[in-house]
Each structure stands twice: as C-alpha cells, then as structure tokens.
Symmetry: C3
Subunit: 161 residues, 3 copies
C-alpha cells in the first residue's frame, strides 16, 4: 500500500497543519474545512493562502497575474487541500481517489488558458497520489473575482477508505 504521508515528505511538500493553526478560511465567514459522509470526504474551497494569511499572487489572470504565477497559486491551493485532507483524516493514506475538483480562476474575459492554471492543483495531486488515485474528474471555470483577490480556488471531493 502506498504511503502518501511519506511521499509528501519525500517531495518536500509541507501541507499546513490545521490542528495547530486554525483553518484559515474561517476569517471569511462560518465555514467547516470538511465533512465526511460515508466514504466521501467533501472539502471546502481551498485557496492559495500563505502561512501569514495573505494571498499568493492576488489579482486576475490576463492582467497582473501570469500563467506561471497562477499555476504556482493553484499548487499552493492544492497543498492547502492536502492540509485539509490530513486534518480530516489524520493521514493522507486513507485517500482512495481524488474524485473531482471544481477549479475557479479569476481572470479577464480574454483569458482562456484557465486549464493551465488549474493544472497546478491536479499535477500536485498526481505527484503525491499517483495517476490511479490522484487524477480525478475536473472542470475549470474563469470567473470574475474571488474573496480577498485570490486568483484561484479549488473545491475537491475525495473518496476515502
């Protein structure tokens, strides 16, 4: 059986520990980081929030945020999602499958490379969990704005054992 907790360490990825620091999105209203129903783990939206609570690369794609920065932001949002999973389950090893991610990219109307941004999240899941477990359904949507000028948000659903 794959040891995803070890894999994360090997990859040098450090998901936030929400059992120590409060789940940060709480500053944006009443929210729970996750809910478990049967063998499905529902996550709240994860954003590219840095440790100090500020957004990585705020703004809009096609304007002040480049694709490379957006990708990096999506990778951080995915890293925070890993933190939420670990907080929910105590370990990443109960992840059976990334089921689906809905990805939202703040952008100008002319920007149509939204999928290249969202790959920051999905590539990370692939690195950590491998293809069979880590690559799920996805959709990526270019949107008008996100809270606090975040440039990206991902809403992930996970199958667990």
């Amino acid at each position: 059986m794959a040891d995803f907790d070890a894999r994360v360490d090997e990859l040098g990825i450090t998901p936030p520990d929400y059992s120590v620091s409060a789940y940060p999105a709480a500053q944006y209203g009443l929210i729970r980081s996750h809910r478990i129903v049967g063998n499905v783990l529902f996550l709240a939206g994860n954003v590219p929030e840095m440790e100090d609570g500020s957004p990585l690369h705020p703004g809009r794609l096609g304007d002040e945020v480049t694709i490379e920065q957006g990708y990096e932001a999506a990778r951080l949002a995915g890293t925070n999602a890993l933190g939420s999973i670990k907080y929910a389950l105590g370990t990443l090893n109960r992840v059976k499958a990334i089921v689906r991610s809905l990805n939202f990219v703040a952008c100008i109307p002319e920007f149509t490379d939204v999928h290249k941004v969202a790959s920051g999240t999905t590539d990370l899941f692939n690195e950590v969990f491998g293809d069979e477990v880590g690559v799920g359904c996805r959709a990526t949507i270019g949107v008008t704005s996100l809270a606090a000028s975040f440039c990206f948000e991902t809403v992930v659903t996970v199958e667990i054992v």
Copy 2:
C-alpha cells in the same frame, strides 16, 4: 434531538411551501428541486426569488447592489433552500449536516467581498441548525451573471437521516 421545524418558527423564518406553490425555478427550464441518493440530499440552485417570482435586489455587487442587499438576498436564497429541504423530506428534522454550499455572487471584477454576501446563507443555516449541523464546507465565487439578473445563487448538499 433538536427540533429544527420549531426553531424556524421561533426565528420567524417562513420557508416557501413548494408542495403548495410550484418550485419556482421551473420557469427557468427543466429542473427538479432535489434528488436523494442514499443519505445525501442534493438541492438545485436556490436564488433570492420572492413569492411573486421576481428577484430580490437584482443586479451586480459593486454596481447597483450593496453588500447589505446582497447579504439579504443570500439569506432569502437560504430560506428558499430550507423550503426545498422541507419539500424533499417533509421536515427539517431529518437534516444531519449541511455538507457543502457552492455560492455564486454576480459582481463586477473589482468586487472581492463575495464571502460577505454568501454569509447571508451560511449565517441562516447556523441560526436554524446550530454550529455542529448547520455550518458546512463552502466556497464563494464572483461571477459574470445569473439568470434573470439574480445577484446570488447557492447550490447546497445535505446529509440526512
């Protein structure tokens, strides 16, 4: 066991009765107000539609709709979601947990307080169901437009007993 039907009455909240009036969104195309799969209740999008079928505070945040109006609209959308839950289950007392809400706010690109609007829905759920049951995962997205100039729409998933 909490009596959420009584709580709604105490709070003076009056969810629409869709067993009497037709589920209103039907005017927007083929739609079902809800589906139940196992112990999960999926709701259609709920909007701030008033009893006469017209939108409360139509338009966009950052333009003609203020945050206070948007919050009020989101509270009405949440009230209509309560109506959908009651229509689906016959009672609110079968609600075990608000699992996740996806919240969409029609706004201009410069408006980044979308979460303050969505709290109109999530605060209502907290009042009715309390923190353990009523506070779920959430994500809020600023979007270009919604049907009929609604300024808000929420898509809610509920765990039931």
Copy 3:
C-alpha cells in the same frame, strides 16, 4: 425497463465512443472522464467539443454567440456527457437518475439568459431518459471564460444501478 441505449439510437443521437477515441479533454491537463463511488457516477466537465477537437460556437453569449448557438453547444456538451456515461458504465441503461448538473456559460455581464443556454443539456437528458430519470437538479452560472474559448461547460452527477 427503459432501454436508453436504444432510445439514443432512435433519437439519432451519436455520443462519442471514448473507448475508441481518447477522452478529448485530456489535452487540457491531467483529468479522468469519470469516477464511480458506490452508486454515484461523477463526471468531469463536458464541453461542446466536436469530433476534430475544436469547440462548437466558441466565444461568449451576448457577444459573438447567439442563444440558439449556445443551446446547440450545450446539447453537444450533453451528448459528450452521454459518451462519458457510456464509457464509464458500458451502457446508458445503468442510469437511475440525473442527480445534478452545474452549468457554466461564458457570457458578457449584460447577458442574463444563461438558463436558456443550459437547457440544451437538460432538454437532451429529458429526451433520452424521460422526466423521472432525466430531469435533475441544476444551476446555471454566467462566467468570464472557459478553456479554449468554449462557450459552455456542464458538470454532471449521476445515480447508477
């Protein structure tokens, strides 16, 4: 028991066969066309991609795309969703219910007929599966942009037997 595979043939609808041609969205990053968890089939976003991989009616509603074209695009996205279902299950006959579709329409801020576009998908599901099975929950959101200038994307959840 309804034979939905035969119904599709009778209606002259020809969903793509993703067991022969690769699931096309793969060009937009790591993605799986579907995941099954228990009796729920989760689909990735389906877009109005034509056989040659190019978008049908690219652009935005309210600008270069008319409602009729948007509806047609949504019907193609729905047809591709049928292809995804068939690829996942081998047959449409295991569909018990269309549970919910989240529909995204690329549009200008003044365009508020997003629901008329999304009906291209939901009308198709109704034709194929009938009202009881084929009409599910839905929400439709007007958004800034989609990958590769697609004008529409639908994210569908299905109950299966």
